[in-house]
Symmetry: C2
Subunit: 142 residues, 2 copies
């Protein structure tokens, strides 16, 4: 069951400049940074609020580390902006299976590693009214 | 102070079809619908979770009621997808003033009426790394 908006993923050309914008303009704080080589991104997580399922909602800022990564290609085509949205669940495997059975394309056969040790998968944007949609089970949930 | 992700605004061609997708695929429920003539949209709010500031996070589905509305023009240019993101605050007036003083363009001189009796304003996407960003004070906060 999807129980929270886990994060909004925003693609940017320069992570440091964009982090500076989000922290100085809004007063948000960076709570985590990492490089995800598999996804081809450098990223910063800014925790915005706690959620009623015991999790959190984040802004995730993403800078591609190579042009041929999915985020790199997306950025070249669209420019900076919202790249994806993510719903949190305690059971990414079960929810992915259930959603696949409804005819929505799930991009990975098995969930992969996301931010902060989470397990993630993505739904095809063409099956989701144009929205690249991630499902995420946080490290503390799995 | 911005204390939550209040909602993600998603533009769609047909509200009923898109609501059906979000409810049947994810199990979300529509908690509110309205027509906002000033913004030129029919909308459905799906409450996803409560937030640690006492508010909620929603998915907001938006169908333009006329082609020359901001959402109508955006949809013609971009197709369906994430139109804006919104941060919640108890003081939209103060936060808008503070953010304007940092050189970010605020689109309204005074906040206008948003979903469910909220007071809202928008920040120019070109000043926000490509993200149309809304600030919202809910009806129970003002």
């Amino acid at each position: 069951m999807l129980t929270r908006i886990d994060h909004i993923g925003i693609a940017c050309h320069d992570l440091d400049t964009t982090v500076e914008f989000y922290t100085s303009t809004y007063g948000f704080e960076v709570t985590h940074t990492e490089v995800n080589e598999e996804q081809g991104v450098r990223e910063a997580m800014l925790r915005i609020n706690g959620t009623s399922d015991g999790g959190s909602s984040y802004i995730q800022l993403l800078q591609p580390v190579r042009e041929d990564s999915p985020v790199g290609k997306w950025l070249a085509r669209n420019g900076e902006g919202v790249h994806h949205i993510a719903f949190g669940t305690a059971d990414v495997d079960g929810d992915a299976q259930s959603i696949r059975s409804k005819g929505v394309r799930v991009l990975y056969d098995e969930p992969r590693t996301g931010s902060m040790g989470s397990r993630i998968t993505f739904l095809h944007p063409k099956d989701c009214h144009g929205v690249l949609t991630e499902l995420v089970t946080s490290a503390t949930e799995h």
